[in-house]
Symmetry: C2
Subunit: 225 residues, 2 copies
Amino acid sequence: MTAVAALPPKGRIRQAQEAVILRAAERVFARRGFSGATVADIAAEAALPKSTVHYYFGTKEALHRAVLDDILALWLEGTEAIRPEAEPHEALAAYVRHKMQLSAERPDASRVFANELLHGAPQIDDALRGGLRALVHEKAAVVDAWIAAGRMAPVDSTHLFFTVWAMTQTYADFAPQVAAVLGCHTPLPAAEQRRASTHVERFVLRACGLSAPDSPPHDLQGPIR
Amino acid sequence: MTAVAALPPKGRIRQAQEAVILRAAERVFARRGFSGATVADIAAEAALPKSTVHYYFGTKEALHRAVLDDILALWLEGTEAIRPEAEPHEALAAYVRHKMQLSAERPDASRVFANELLHGAPQIDDALRGGLRALVHEKAAVVDAWIAAGRMAPVDSTHLFFTVWAMTQTYADFAPQVAAVLGCHTPLPAAEQRRASTHVERFVLRACGLSAPDSPPHDLQGPIR
DNA sequence: GTCTATATCTGGATAGAC
DNA sequence: GTCTATCCAGATATAGAC
């Protein structure tokens, strides 16, 4: 109808099928990596014939790229709390909680992203040097302003982001290591997940000089088991 | 000669060849992952014919396992500083510096290990639940004793290790992300590497209530809430 | 639009000459 | 011990029936 649409408007069926395939692909790429995943695996996970996957996405690489694009959008969310007028303690706590929640609820997304970075980011390096870089610079400036105003301890604002990402995503990406040390299974039981989240939040806040004065609840401490 | 040797003693040549192959394999597995790496790649990297690799290690999986075993040994090092009589500030600072140095000097080892964890640790789960778990329990007990003695702030001692590993290894495993945000290349220039190391060390020490008397320009025990 | 059947290629592994 | 030549399983991608 409209002359504006450069691409053919996607039908309802197509959209639904693509969504099913993308979710299946995320799970399979997370488990096996890009090279280890096969189109047959993905088709089986989506309960579709192999050729249907090729019909909708063409190649395995194009499908992988589509999965990554979705994940990157997810990654750029969650920084809204970090704005000049906000309270540093509240803003950083909210950001850490958001990241821990993402790590717990979308571990496969985190793993696909991690795998891409681990192998040199061949497909999303451009996006990282574009959107991600700009976002971090903007938010780092906010943190720097807080520091200059004496509202939090001096930390390297850019590396603060690397640090928070690393601490939160480790529970998704390297879950087998965490589970092995804790002697439990993966995914982590809800109680362990809460303990992790509490730890990371308090750790970051204290490192930023934003911790509440005292009173650690004793039940959250102590050796495991 | 000796009846003690259960396995045939490795000849000089064999040992040298195996070492060459192991180093080449570490580089290739780091770049391409287990599934993405081919024996032909590894052989080319080692400047040997493909069959020689098979001759020494049998299968690609066995070679991968050998690489992982070497790396795991490297991973278990570096905790000697953490012992009851030590000064918490010194011990933790030394451990963080050791890990940052490892991340900078052996990034490929870190990446091979990360890739294995990312895909469920199929080959080293047993080792993690054995040696690694025992080591962390032992060292976490030391940290707990420091906390009980009021020598550092209360942190979850087990998760402290997850946190330190995550923060330090992120500079090896996810280098493309760091480089993209900083607008530089990978590996990171030496100056950026030092900046990262300084950040992580200060971050951890402050989170553990061990920050040096170095010029916090304001009250770190913020009154917030 | 969807699926069966198949062409084509890649890569792990080995046989056997040297 | 070392390397060339080769085998064969498994994977991507497509042709063509429905």
